[in-house]
């Protein structure tokens, strides 16, 4: 089995937001929910760079560790998923997540949160693969169809890579060696406690 990861090459990201749009369209994500977003650092200044960020599917995921109802599980491909039928919308995963990945629809009184929603690595949820119920709750299950997440597949500059950690790290290494520079695999040390060594 592969160890699925995302890798963002910030020297290539042009902040076109196609990954965000692709994700929203493929998974029919409701208004106000952003499973993936592009953050621009040093906007308008020299050294500006953009990073597309979503759930990184961490090793020893913090969301999974703090969930009061233990609704998270890790698949054989090391994708971190959750069961929306068990989620109570307490918001603890958002406090623990280093990447701000969990999202909540706002329902009812005060700041009552609905069931948490986040990037599934286009791998659906605990329902039957590619069933109607799975699509409504979690969106597309491209992994079950033998495809990779659409955000990375759509990326025009191939800044965003998704797939087996070993394979995408090798692609990145070759890039860095060929062009002579690189600013590292964003979030890897936080998510996977490792970085891409050249």
């Amino acid at each position: 089995m592969a160890r699925m990861k995302f890798l963002l090459d910030s020297d290539r990201c042009i902040e076109c937001n196609a990954c965000v749009t692709a994700c929203k369209n493929e998974n029919e994500v409701p208004w106000g929910i952003n499973r993936r977003r592009v953050v621009t650092l040093n906007d308008g200044k020299p050294g500006e760079r953009s990073v597309s960020m979503a759930c990184m599917h961490c090793t020893d995921a913090p969301c999974q560790a703090v969930c009061p109802v233990s609704c998270f599980y890790t698949t054989a491909d090391a994708v971190v998923l959750h069961d929306k039928d068990l989620c109570i919308g307490c918001g603890y995963c958002f406090y623990a997540c280093p990447f701000g990945a969990p999202q909540y629809p706002r329902i009812g009184n005060f700041g009552t949160r609905g069931k948490m929603d986040k990037c599934t690595f286009c791998a659906g949820g605990p329902q039957e693969d590619n069933s109607e119920a799975e699509f409504i709750q979690y969106g597309s299950n491209r992994l079950a169809q033998g495809k990779l997440p659409l955000c990375a597949e759509m990326c025009s500059t191939k800044a965003l890579l998704a797939g087996d950690g070993e394979v995408i790290a090798q692609i990145y290494r070759e890039r860095v060696v060929k062009r002579g520079y690189g600013s590292g695999a964003w979030g890897w040390r936080t998510a996977y406690r490792e970085t891409v060594t050249i």
Binding site: D11, V20, G32, N34, R37, V38, V39, T40, L41, N42, D43, K45, P46, G47, V51, M53, P62, A65, V66, C67, P68, V69, S70, C71, D83, D85, L86, C87, I88, G89, C90, G91, Y92, F94, Y95, A96, C97, P98, F99, G100, N109, F110, G111, R113, V176, V177, R179, G180, Y181, G182, S183, G184, A185, W186, G187, W188, R189, T190, T195, I198
Partner: protein
């Protein structure tokens, strides 16, 4: 802030082609996220986003890891020791000391200790507190204790009902605390008697209970812990009920810490309060049920207050139509 941006800029420059071209064959310099994070001194990596949700502009918040450590380790240990430790202490106290009896037995005559409004308010706060405490403890310990017993689906139902109850009961709980402060603050101002009471161990350990007014030093302690601790728990709780309305992610994490630690300590203190008010002391529970306590109980534990009350009775002007003593 501008210094940090400059440093970040310097770190990013280290990875630019101009620098790398000087050593094309060697290993290229790598200004990776760790170097940048180190320059940010462990602070949030923050940028700009084109979506309305500005919380999304935080790229990485390393503080989440500290909060995880707090929630899973610190809170679990502090809460576990406070609650289980208090239960062990109370059991030991009961086995050693037993139930504290009324000296000289019951007199059969009673005196009003708490009026109907005081009692109603007490039970409103108490019933809210019990539900708030159980649903709160369930959020921290339920997955280890209750989840294996009743299964994930039933546990989610219980926890979700608990979450709604926790949110809504926060309001009557706070209101009741405010009433308590207005009703009882004047009788809970510390004075010299409290020092004597504390020195003598309050009659809980050893023998002979020092004189005290309406409330003794122990009760005054419970009162101020409830009111001030409750105020802290309520204030931080409202920050959590209205997420991100008043504060950002770090503020939310801090609110959770300032909510949960005082809350588990309050639970431990309330266990002691419940113990001494029911099984721990004969004649105590009536004060909050009928409101009428036995005169001997009152003289034993609150002699100064009894004197005051009786003096009020003696000094009171009888109604005009009341018959004089021995008039019939």
């Amino acid at each position: 802030m501008s210094i940090r941006i400059l440093l970040l800029f310097a770190a990013l420059l280290a990875g630019t082609p101009a620098f790398a071209q000087q050593q094309p064959s060697g290993t290229p310099p790598l200004a990776d996220e760790l170097a940048i994070q180190a320059l940010l001194q462990g602070n949030t990596v923050h940028g700009r986003v084109t979506i309305p949700d500005q919380r999304a502009a935080n790229l990485i918040q390393p503080q989440g890891r500290e909060w995880r450590e707090f929630h899973n380790v610190t809170l679990a240990w502090v809460g576990g020791i406070a609650v289980v430790g208090m239960l062990v202490l109370l059991t030991a106290f009961y086995l050693i000391r037993g139930r504290i009896p009324i000296q000289g037995g019951r007199s059969g005559r009673t005196i009003l200790r708490f009026d109907l409004f005081e009692r109603t308010n007490h039970w409103m706060v108490a019933s809210c507190f019990i539900v708030l405490a159980l649903s709160g403890l369930n959020l921290t310990f339920g997955r280890h204790v209750l989840l294996p017993l009743i299964g994930p689906s039933a546990f989610t139902t219980v926890t979700e009902i608990g979450k709604y109850a926790h949110n809504f009961l926060a309001f009557p709980f706070t209101l009741g605390l405010l009433f308590m402060l207005l009703l009882w603050a004047k009788d809970n101002i510390p004075n010299g008697n409290d020092i004597r009471w504390l020195k003598a161990g309050g009659g809980l350990v050893g023998h002979g209970e020092p004189p005290s007014g309406r409330f003794n030093a122990g009760q005054k302690g419970i009162f101020w812990i409830t009111v001030l601790g409750g105020a802290l728990v309520a204030a931080s709780g409202y920050m959590l009920i209205f997420p991100f309305f008043f504060t950002d992610i770090q503020g939310m994490q801090l609110s959770h810490m300032l909510h949960s630690i005082p809350a588990v300590l309050l639970i431990a203190v309330m266990l002691a309060h419940i113990y001494i008010g029911t099984i721990g002391m004969d004649g105590a529970v009536e004060a909050m049920t009928t409101g009428q306590v036995d005169l001997n109980w009152a003289k034993q534990h609150h002699n100064l207050w009894v004197e005051q009350e009786l003096a009020k009775g003696r000094g009171a002007t009888p109604p005009v139509r009341a018959k004089p003593t021995g008039g019939d």
